[in-house]
Symmetry: C2
Subunit: 665 residues, 2 copies
């Protein structure tokens, strides 16, 4: 290779007739001093910052912005506390009228939240009280740290499914519930740590790794998987599969159905499911009845419990919750395990739950913030979520986040601030103190109905159709996540979505796009002749634009060959015609970066065109590109006079050159 390049260099002078230096055509048509000053700007621009400077600058900026703004230490502290605890800001203007709204919203929220929490704890394979615990501590922490006013915090279906499906691969909750619980708390702790650090280091983009389309598909798949899991409760099945994919679950149900069953479970579950769905329908029909679907779950729990108590159905095969431990959240600090073989797994599960929980919370928070017309601070949200999960992991909670269904109820109930979360948490706390004994006769099947009734909210057909309409590739990511969750596992679904999304980015970057530009009559506007059929080409002039932001090893050769074939194709076709291509203008405004292969390609285009006596002009290369072209001495080889800021300037120079050559001939 060294030999080759040596040959290339030593022989260039002798073997190649180098028209760059020898023929008059390569000389700039006007002396550099004659050109308008704007033209030289391309080459006069300062050096761009190095990539790592940009990175460190952005980190430093984000970390020090507050300190800079306020100077003194005490002010810095106060501004930091204002930033961390938004309650300090809005708390001052809080009044009785707002409290009345929040109280109503909080109570509505609690009536929906209590049965849901118990159901989700069941989904997470934990005892019912852990769901309730998770509805006490995290909402209180979020209330003072969060920036969203509508989000309702607590356990949610998808995260419950995610965490149980991942942990039960390592520890069986039926055989070893203590280790299982320890691992849940440890994973929750890690999730909190990850979320907090995402916020502190402004790594919000981690959440963006899952595209909107992928989340739509993932949520829909997860909803179906969760629904299938509820068949266990609904049918009162004892032995169920630990796997979550459709095939295993249907197989397990098939086996269970063919064994003796107690129809009571199914009857109670289905009738209350229908009741809840009817109330939801009524609530949607008439806005005045918004509270009906919100209290329907609590009503169902109460009625079904009474029913079982009166008929003593629990003695005839209807499964009931039985003992729920009451009282305040016990400390779980001693249950966190930072050693042993499960540590790596806990951290991994924590990371995945952290990302999914954030994705759900931020998606729901943003939707409602947009409706109310305020901006959600993603980084503060992440810190708040992280802190509440760290605190949760120390007080027997598992991963909490913003719930789709409860947030919508909170919003409809007219919440004004996060005080509604405090009201809810206190209500749940009171329920934990006083009412857990009443759950003794609550049938398990009712929890399944409550979860099932919340699932349709996770499946967004309209959005899926929109995605299909607008962007087929995005739909592919969506479908990948959906079928991955359905037929593989939660992790497979997520991986498929991430892989499809990233392959798309790569394909988009490497798909070499190059277009011929034409001028719109009577203007200095140049655009693609395919996109704008009104644009006209100028005879003897090939204007191309590279539509790729990174001219690199993967597309440079294609682009080089395309430019050369366009330039020479016309040369062949018009061999004898007067108007063969005499100049090629490459518009590089879209090229933001280039690598050595790209530089080489440009150089080869230049050499080949020069040997065919075609003039090359470069227009407006990106900042990094100009810099690298200067460093690689490509600017000097092409000629400083042939690098322009606009296509119009380049065209003018090329036409003047043509005229001059015409005179010479």
């Amino acid at each position: 290779m060294a030999q080759v390049s040596e040959f290339t260099q030593t022989l260039q002078g002798t073997m190649v007739s180098s028209p760059i230096e020898s023929t008059p055509m390569a000389e700039p048509i006007a002396g550099e001093s004659d050109r308008p000053s704007a033209v030289f700007l391309v080459l006069d621009s300062p050096d761009p910052p190095a990539p790592w400077h940009e990175l460190t600058d952005s980190v430093r900026h984000s970390l020090l912005s507050h300190a800079k703004k306020f100077g003194s230490f005490s002010k810095c502290i106060s501004s930091a506390s204002y930033a961390l605890f938004p309650v300090l800001r809005w708390g001052r203007n809080y009044d009785l009228k707002m409290f009345r709204s929040d109280l109503l919203a909080g109570l509505t929220l609690a009536s929906l939240g209590i049965p849901q929490s118990i159901g989700y704890a069941n989904l997470a394979k934990l005892d019912p009280q852990y769901g309730l615990y998770t509805s006490v501590v995290p909402p209180l922490i979020y209330a003072v740290m969060g920036t969203s006013r509508e989000i309702a915090i607590g356990p949610v279906a998808v995260v419950s499914l995610l965490i149980s499906s991942m942990i039960q691969k390592v520890v069986d909750p039926a055989l070893d519930p203590i280790t299982y619980r320890k691992m849940i708390f440890t994973a929750t702790f890690f999730a909190g740590i990850f979320q907090t650090s995402f916020g502190l280091f402004r790594l919000g983009f981690v959440v963006d790794f899952l595209s909107h389309a992928a989340i739509v598909g993932f949520m829909a798949g997860a909803a179906i998987v969760i629904g299938l899991q509820q068949l266990k409760g609904l049918l009162g099945i004892d032995h169920f599969t630990n796997k979550t994919d459709v095939v295993s679950v249907i197989k397990a149900v098939w086996i269970a159905v063919h064994q003796p069953m107690h129809p009571g479970n199914f009857l109670i579950g289905c009738s209350f499911l229908i009741f809840i769905l009817i109330t939801r329908f009524l609530g949607r029909r008439n806005r005045k009845f918004f509270w009906l679907p919100a209290i329907a779950p609590l009503l169902s729990v109460t009625l079904s419990t009474l029913l079982v108590f009166v008929t003593r159905a629990d003695e005839h095969g209807v499964k009931t919750i039985r003992h729920v431990k009451g009282g305040l959240n016990p400390s779980s600090a001693k249950q966190l395990q930072f050693s042993g073989p499960l540590l790596g797994n806990s951290a991994k599960i924590g990371l995945i739950s952290a990302v999914i929980a954030l994705a759900e919370a931020i998606a729901v928070g943003r939707s409602f913030a947009t409706i109310k017309g305020y901006q959600l601070d993603g980084n503060k949200e992440m810190i708040a979520m992280g802190c509440m999960n760290i605190a949760g992991s120390l007080s027997s909670c598992y991963v909490a986040t913003g719930s789709f269904s409860r947030t919508a109820v909170n919003f409809s109930a007219g919440c004004k601030t996060t005080v509604s979360n405090i009201v809810m948490a206190l209500t749940v706390f009171i329920a934990l103190q006083l009412l857990t004994k009443l759950l003794y006769y609550t049938p398990v099947t009712i929890l399944a109905s409550i979860i099932l009734s919340a699932l349709p909210g996770l499946i967004d057909f309209r959005e899926a159709y929109n995605i299909w309409e607008v962007d087929k590739m995005d739909f592919l990511a969506s479908a990948g996540a959906f079928f991955g969750v359905l037929f593989g596992s939660v992790e497979i679904g997520l991986s498929v979505a991430v892989i499809i999304s990233f392959s798309r980015i790569i394909l988009n970057s490497i798909w070499p796009r190059i277009e011929i530009l034409g001028r719109i009559q009577g203007t200095d506007i140049f655009c693609s002749i395919r996109q704008y059929p009104v644009a006209n080409r100028t005879p003897g002039l090939l204007i191309t634009r590279i539509n790729s932001c990174f001219l690199c090893f993967i597309n440079a050769n294609f682009i080089k060959e395309r430019i050369l074939s366009w330039a020479t194709e016309e040369k062949d076709a018009l061999e004898n015609a007067k108007e063969r291509t005499r100049s090629v203008i490459i518009d590089m405004s879209n090229v933001m970066n280039i690598d050595t292969s790209g530089l080489e390609a440009i150089e080869e285009v230049h050499k080949k065109l020069a040997s065919d006596e075609i003039q090359l002009a470069i227009v407006n290369p990106g900042w990094q590109v100009v810099h690298k072209m200067r460093k690689a001495r490509l600017v000097d080889r092409i000629g400083r006079a042939w690098i322009f800021l606009t296509v119009a300037q380049a065209m003018e120079a090329c036409l003047a050159l043509k005229k001059e050559n015409g005179h010479l001939c």
Copy 2:
């Protein structure tokens, strides 16, 4: 999620004061009919072709281009044969003068090729004759099909190392030479099939997967590894490691050095290595002696063989080649194995060798084509290489390709066409028939010296320095490949290079770039105020440009938040000043594609700005982007009148709006 979006939709009318419809500011300042016709072009452009249409079009185009050009079947056949066999084209003008040059070049080539082929066969752990076989059939096939005039075909060092290092992981050549050979031929066959299909389906970009920088690093690493392997021959070591990494090899040498050795091997090897290096030095100093380094290896072989024969050194520990089977290439068709457990491995090894062989051949071919000022047709080259390797695999050859060192010699010797390859092949053929017996006393150590002397050509310090100078990230890929080969294995080195190169593409695409634009005084040119400090911002107007060609889930949120914070930051700073930001112009000329997350981000920017009474104008979105914005009905929501073709038009409209608002106040 569905709930949320329902809420969003049902509540928008009531909750949000929607200034888009209600305030006068969002109305276009001039009626649509008043705007110059050029402005509407953005929205009038036809639908872009779907991505798969573009793909199928390009394949159809490339496959049918010849058929289309020539119409009738017979003409199609003749044009196809012209395309496949370039010899039909240049053969007609071939004359005696050209043949004289080619004859000389071919003989020089053979004198270098014979010893090199034997050495490389040794490196590939094959008997010497297989190297010679590989210098007979493939060059003959290439001569009639290839488009490069200088390339010298035959076995090369890197591919020999690659294929032996990969196959000996599966089959030990010392224990089971027959299976090893079968696998070599099968892998060669697969390599040929892959290369031909790359060419037929125009998959030339597969070769581009290895960036220029990665190849520089890989070649240098491979050269050092090959050099270390030669220590076995040079020191006359019997038991050597099968691993190729530096650590294992040095350990093996260390052990061997401490055992009784015969210094004869080392003495002969070193002295002839010095001899060859001196001739190379002389050849470079004076162009007239170019033949000296070319024949030095053959001279060394002859002299050393004579030396051993005369002194009977082989009886005193100097290892000699001994029996080399003479005669024409035997058929190896029956040795190809298309069943059994090794098939997958053979295919994989074939694929990797195919890519590396093509990368080397095309790199060397392009270098010399550029010097001579003609264009290499990558796809035809790949078909030619593929066919010669398929033919080779049927006639006891292993993977052949274009050699760096021999191509340079061929070029210096003044070759005119591929006839020099034919001359070389015939010479090697004659040698195989007549001279193999003379190799009986040739010391093995001389082969090591010949390979060692060819290695410096693979290490390109100057290019590595250039890469470091121009592009630090490219250098990282280079260094990754280098150290990967050196301390891992050939495959690890390649993987590292590919991974680094691709991560770079991803990083480049997702790194969200957005800039504030300013106007260059007295022109309609708008450019980045960081890159062009002379550009001025217009008060009350924020002009931004998205410098990313794919606005997608990974950068959309960042870009959205950046635009909003710029717009509102100034609003805060200038709360009481007259000149708060009244309009935001987003220049989207660089955005070639968008996904649903990107569309959502644009829509959210629009909503938020509208609620702050700031007008949004979009400038020149890419073809796909306009199309998707239309489909997502974003065009209507932003307003058809606020999408422009140039920044200047958008600015005019915004300034007119401001003036009108001023009048209204």
